[in-house]
C-alpha cells in the first residue's frame, strides 16, 4: 500500500520534496513553500484556502440556518450579538457585535432593546442603521427567502402571520427603530435567550436600496471583515477579499488575518482530508469548514505525530438517541421502554459511530457541557455494554416472557448518525435481551418525512438533535414541550409529551435572563424527563478536523465544536 511520507520536519527532506514536486512539470501551483509547522504568533497576510464538500449555495442572510451562518458567511455578515470566539467552554458565551451590549431586557424579558456602535459602515461606505437590521429580519419572513430557524416567527408579536416586506410593505410593528442607532423588539412571551438568537444571520443588516430579492445572495453587501469579490458556479467557488470599511476597533471578535479567502467546494471527503494531510502548494494554508475526519482517516493518522498535531478536536452540543412512540404498542408500556434502555450496548453503538474518539456514550439527553445545564445521571444503569438479563426481567414483568418482536427504523445514509451500522449495533444488543428486531431502512428524505410526522411516526427509530445555540432551552423545548407538537408539519416532539408540569417549567425558565441560573434548572428538568424513558440517549459525537501545516491560531469553541474561520492565520 502506498504510504505518504511525512518528512516535512527535516529541512533537507522538505526541500527535497519541494524539489521533486517543483521538477515535475505538471504540478500546477508548485510554490514550494516549506515553512515549518503552525507555531509562532499569527500575522496578517496570505491567502486562506477552504476545501469543502458542500457549495455555499445559500449566501443570503435571510436563508441561513443558525449552524450554517457561523462559517464562511460569518466573515461577511455582522449581527447584533455574536459568539465569543474563544476556545472551549469560554466560547459558549454570547457577546456584543454590532450592538454595544448583549441587549437590555424588560422586567419580564419580553422587550429587548439594542443600541448600535458608532461609525459602523457597509463595504460601500454607507452607514449601517437600525432600520437595516429591522429590514434584514423582515426579509427572512418572505417565503421567497425561507430557510432560517423558526424562532423569530414564534417569538415576535405578529410574527406568526407576517409574510415579509415584499408582500406586506408596512413591515413588522413589533420591531421599533426610534432612531438610527436604536432597535427594540417586542416578544409574545418571555425569552431570556433572546441575545443568543440575535447571533443568527437574520440579524445582519441589509440595505433596502441594495436588496435584489432572491438574487441578493449573488453579492450580499458586507458588514464584516471580508467582501465577496467572486461567486462562481452557484457558490462552488468563492473569493473573499478584505473589506476596507470594516475596522478591528469596532469588532473585538473577528481577527481577519489572511488578506484573501478562497473557498473551493464540491470535493469528496477523501480528497479533502488527503489534500489537507499532503499539504502541497496552496493546500498547506488550507482548512475545511464542513468535513470531519472519519474513523478510517483517524485510524490512518494513528501514530503519525506530525499529522496528529494538526487535528483539531471539538465538542458541539449534540445528542444521538433512540426515540420511541409512547402512544403506540408496545412502547406505551414504560417497562418495555426501560427494557430497551437497559439492553443497549453503548460500546457497540459507539464503535459503529466511529469509535471512542469520535463518539462518547450518552445517558443524558442534554449534551455533556455546563452551558446546557448538564447534570450527570443514568436512570437505568446497565454498564458500558448493557445488561441483557435485567432487560429480560423487565420484559417479563411487562408480560412478554418469550421476548417481543419490534421494528427499528433507520435511514440508509452512511452518516454515522442514523445509519445502518448503528441500527445493526442496536439490533444486536436488543436481540441479546430477547427482542426480535426487524430493521426498516428508509432513504433519507423518506426517513425524515416519516419520523417527523405525527400520523406516520414509527414505533422505534434512530434520531438526533443538535443545539441551535448553547443553552438548554432550544435543546429541550422542541423535543419535550407539549405545545410544540406539530400535527401537520415537521414534528420534533416525537414522544408527543404534553405534560403541564414540563410545559410550565419551560415557561418559567425562559423568563430567566441569568444564563447560569437557567442552566441549573434545565439540567434538573432533563433529569426529570429522562426518568420517564421517552428516549434512550446513545452518544454525543466528537468532531475532529485536520488543518493544513501552515495554519495557525486554531480556535475551537464548544458553541460550534469546529475551528473558527475568523481566527485562523496563515502567516
Amino acid at each position: 500500500m502506498p504510504r505518504h511520507r511525512h518528512t516535512h520536519r527535516i529541512a533537507i527532506a522538505a526541500s527535497l520534496v519541494a524539489l521533486i514536486t517543483g521538477a515535475v512539470a505538471c504540478g500546477p501551483k508548485g510554490q514550494g513553500d516549506t515553512k515549518n509547522g503552525a507555531a509562532g504568533a499569527p500575522r496578517s497576510g496570505g491567502t486562506l484556502t477552504v476545501l469543502n464538500r458542500q457549495p455555499q449555495k445559500e449566501f443570503d442572510p435571510a436563508r441561513l440556518y443558525t449552524s450554517g451562518g457561523g462559517n464562511i458567511p460569518g466573515l461577511v455578515f455582522r449581527t447584533l450579538t455574536t459568539r465569543h470566539r474563544a476556545a472551549g467552554a469560554e466560547g459558549t458565551k454570547v457577546v456584543p457585535d454590532l450592538a454595544t451590549d448583549t441587549g437590555k431586557a424588560s422586567e419580564d424579558a419580553k422587550v429587548w432593546t439594542y443600541t448600535l456602535k458608532d461609525g459602523l459602515k457597509y463595504e460601500d461606505g454607507t452607514p449601517i442603521t437600525s432600520a437595516d437590521i429591522k429590514y434584514g429580519i423582515e426579509r427572512s419572513f418572505a417565503p421567497e427567502l425561507s430557510g432560517g430557524a423558526p424562532y423569530l416567527r414564534d417569538w415576535l408579536v405578529g410574527g406568526d402571520t407576517y409574510q415579509g416586506p415584499y408582500k406586506e410593505k408596512k413591515g413588522l410593528d413589533s420591531i421599533e427603530t426610534p432612531d438610527a442607532r436604536t432597535i427594540v423588539f417586542h416578544l409574545r412571551k418571555s425569552e431570556g435567550d433572546f441575545p443568543y438568537l440575535a447571533t443568527s444571520t437574520q440579524f445582519a443588516p441589509v440595505p433596502k436600496a441594495k436588496d435584489t430579492g432572491v438574487k441578493y445572495a449573488e453579492h450580499p453587501v458586507s458588514s464584516g471583515p471580508y467582501k465577496v469579490v467572486r461567486n462562481e458556479g452557484d457558490g462552488r467557488h468563492l473569493v473573499l477579499e478584505r473589506n476596507d470599511q470594516w475596522s478591528q476597533d469596532s469588532d473585538k471578535e473577528r481577527h481577519a488575518y489572511p488578506d484573501k479567502v478562497d473557498v473551493q467546494s464540491g470535493l469528496s471527503t477523501e480528497v479533502i482530508n488527503q489534500r489537507l494531510s499532503t499539504g502541497s502548494g496552496a493546500d498547506a494554508a488550507a482548512v475545511t469548514t464542513d468535513t470531519n475526519l472519519g474513523p478510517a482517516e483517524l485510524a490512518q493518522i494513528g501514530g503519525n505525530k506530525e499529522l496528529a498535531a494538526r487535528v483539531g478536536t471539538g465538542h458541539f452540543g449534540y445528542t444521538n438517541y433512540l426515540a420511541f412512540n409512547p402512544k403506540s404498542k408496545p412502547f406505551d408500556d414504560p417497562k418495555v421502554r426501560q427494557a430497551v434502555a437497559c439492553a443497549i450496548n453503548r460500546t457497540s453503538v459507539v464503535n459503529a459511530a466511529g469509535g471512542s474518539s469520535l463518539a462518547e456514550p450518552a445517558t443524558t439527553f442534554l449534551p455533556n457541557q455546563a452551558t446546557f445545564g448538564y447534570t450527570p445521571y443514568d436512570p437505568f444503569p446497565a454498564g458500558a455494554t448493557g445488561n441483557p438479563d435485567k432487560a429480560r426481567e423487565l420484559l417479563k414483568e411487562a408480560g412478554h416472557p418469550d421476548g417481543l418482536e419490534i421494528t427499528l427504523t433507520h435511514s440508509t445514509a452512511q452518516d454515522f448518525e442514523t445509519s445502518p451500522d448503528i441500527a445493526s449495533a442496536v439490533q444486536a444488543s436488543l436481540e441479546k435481551a430477547g427482542f426480535k428486531v426487524k430493521l426498516a431502512g428508509l432513504e433519507s428524505n423518506a426517513y425524515d418525512e416519516k419520523v417527523h410526522s405525527v400520523q406516520n411516526q414509527p414505533d422505534l427509530f434512530l434520531a438526533h438533535w443538535g443545539a441551535d445555540w448553547p443553552s438548554g432551552g432550544p435543546f429541550l423545548a422542541p423535543i419535550f414541550d407539549g405545545r410544540q407538537i406539530v400535527k401537520d408539519g415537521a414534528n420534533f416532539n416525537t414522544a408527543q409529551l404534553d405534560d403541564s408540569g414540563v410545559n410550565d417549567e419551560i415557561d418559567a425558565i425562559n423568563k430567566i435572563t441569568d444564563h447560569e441560573a437557567a442552566a441549573k434548572r434545565w439540567g434538573a428538568l432533563d433529569q426529570k424527563i429522562g426518568e420517564q424513558a421517552l428516549v434512550v440517549p446513545l452518544f454525543h459525537p466528537v468532531y475532529k478536523r485536520l488543518v493544513g501545516k501552515d495554519v495557525k491560531n486554531v480556535v475551537i469553541s464548544d458553541w460550534t465544536g469546529v475551528l473558527d474561520v475568523s481566527q485562523v492565520a496563515v502567516k
Binding site: P2, A299, N351, G355, Q414, L439, L442
Partner: protein, 329 residues
C-alpha cells in the same frame, strides 16, 4: 456420398449440445474456470456450514477486537486475522469477514446472474425484433432503449425502492432494476446491428427466400450467429452488475442490513483501504476472480457454440488467425 452428408447433418443436429460440451471440456482454461466457478457457488451455498465450521456468524459484534479509540481499526495484523477469525474482522463492528464474504457471495452471485439473464433475454428480444420487424417496430424499440439508457439510475433506484413495498424481496428488486437499467440498451443496439449485418448474408437471405418465417429464421439462423457477440458482452456485463450492486449499496438502496453482500462490503470498505487494506482487498479479489472466470467461460462457450467452428473441425482445417489456440483470456 449423399447419404453420408445426410447422416452427418442428422448427427450434428442430435448431438449438438453434447458436441458443445465436448469442445468445452477439451479446453483446459475453460475447465479450470468452471471448477473455480463451482467453488464460488459452493462457497455461497455452503455459507452456513462454513460459518459453523469457523464457529462464527455474520452479524455478531465483537467490540473487543477493534481499537475503538483509533476509529475502530481491527486489533492485530492483517485486519485482525486469528485462529477464530480466519480473514479478520470488519472495522468498527468487529463482525467476522470470512463469514460475511460467504454470505455475501449468495447475494452477489444471485444478483449478478439474475440481472445478466434479464439483460440478455430482454436485450436480444428487443434487438432482433427491431432488426427483423418493420420500421415502426424498429423506431419504437430504438426510442425505448434510448429512454432506458437516459433514465437517471440514482433517482430511479431511490424512487423505486421507496415505492415498492418493504416486504418485496430485495434481491429480486435489485435483479430487475439492474437488469433493466444497466446494459440492456447497449445489448439491444448491438444485437440489432449484428442482425442487420447478418440479414444481408447469403445464408440468411437464402433462408428467407426459401420462405422461412421470421421466428424460424431468428431461431435457426440468427441466434446461433448472435451467440458469440452476445455471450462475449454478457460475460463483461456480469461483473459490471456486481459493481452496480456495490454502487446501489453505496447509495443505500442495496440489500438490507445486516445482510452482507460483496458490493455492500466494497462500498463501506472504500475509505479503509489505507488503514485496513485487507478489508478492501478481499471482496475486490473475489470480484476480480469472478470476472475472470466468466470472461474465460464466455470465451470458451463462444468458440464452442460457433457453427463454423464445427464445420472446420470436421474438415480438419484451422483458420490462420489461430482461433483454436486462444489464450486463456
Amino acid at each position: 456420398m449423399t447419404q453420408e452428408i445426410q447422416q452427418e447433418i442428422q448427427e450434428n443436429d442430435i448431438s449438438g449440445a453434447r458436441q458443445v460440451l465436448r469442445r468445452l471440456r477439451a479446453r483446459k482454461s475453460a475447465l479450470a474456470a468452471a471448477i473455480v466457478l463451482g467453488l464460488l457457488v459452493l462457497f455461497a451455498l455452503a455459507a452456513p456450514l462454513l460459518a459453523a465450521w469457523e464457529g462464527q456468524d455474520p452479524t455478531t459484534y465483537h467490540d473487543g477486537l477493534v481499537n475503538s479509540a483509533a476509529g475502530g481499526v481491527p486489533l492485530g495484523s492483517f485486519g485482525g486475522v486469528s485462529a477464530e477469525h480466519w480473514l479478520g474482522v470488519e472495522p468498527g463492528t468487529g463482525r467476522d469477514v470470512f463469514v460475511r464474504l460467504c454470505y455475501g457471495a449468495r447475494v452477489s452471485l444471485v444478483v449478478a446472474l439474475g440481472a445478466t439473464v434479464v439483460q440478455v433475454v430482454v436485450g436480444v428480444a428487443l434487438g432482433i425484433t427491431a432488426a427483423l420487424g418493420n420500421r415502426l417496430a424498429d423506431s419504437v424499440i430504438g426510442h425505448l432503449t434510448d429512454v432506458l439508457v437516459a433514465l437517471p439510475f440514482l433517482a430511479f433506484a431511490v424512487a423505486l425502492t421507496a415505492v415498492v413495498p418493504a416486504d418485496f424481496p430485495r434481491p429480486v428488486l435489485l435483479v430487475l432494476v439492474i437488469g433493466l437499467l444497466n446494459g440492456v440498451g447497449g445489448l439491444a443496439r448491438l444485437v440489432r446491428a449484428q442482425t442487420l449485418s447478418l440479414k444481408k448474408l447469403d445464408y440468411v437471405s437464402a433462408a428467407r427466400l426459401a420462405g422461412g418465417s421470421s421466428w424460424r429464421i431468428a431461431r435457426r439462423e440468427l441466434l446461433p450467429a448472435l451467440a458469440a457477440p452476445v455471450i462475449t458482452y454478457a460475460a463483461v456485463l456480469l461483473p459490471s452488475n456486481i459493481v452496480m450492486e456495490a454502487g446501489m449499496s453505496f447509495l443505500g438502496v442495496g440489500v438490507k442490513p445486516p445482510t452482507p453482500s460483496w458490493g455492500q462490503m466494497l462500498s463501506t470498505a472504500t475509505t479503509w483501504f489505507r488503514a485496513d487494506p485487507m478489508y478492501v482487498v478481499l471482496p475486490a479479489l473475489l470480484l476480480f476472480v469472478t470476472t475472470l472466470v466468466f470472461t474465460v467461460l464466455g470465451d470458451a462457450l463462444r468458440t464452442a457454440l460457433d457453427p463454423r467452428e464445427a464445420s472446420r473441425l470436421r474438415v480438419g482445417r484451422a483458420g490462420r488467425a489461430g482461433r483454436r489456440k486462444e489464450s486463456a483470456i
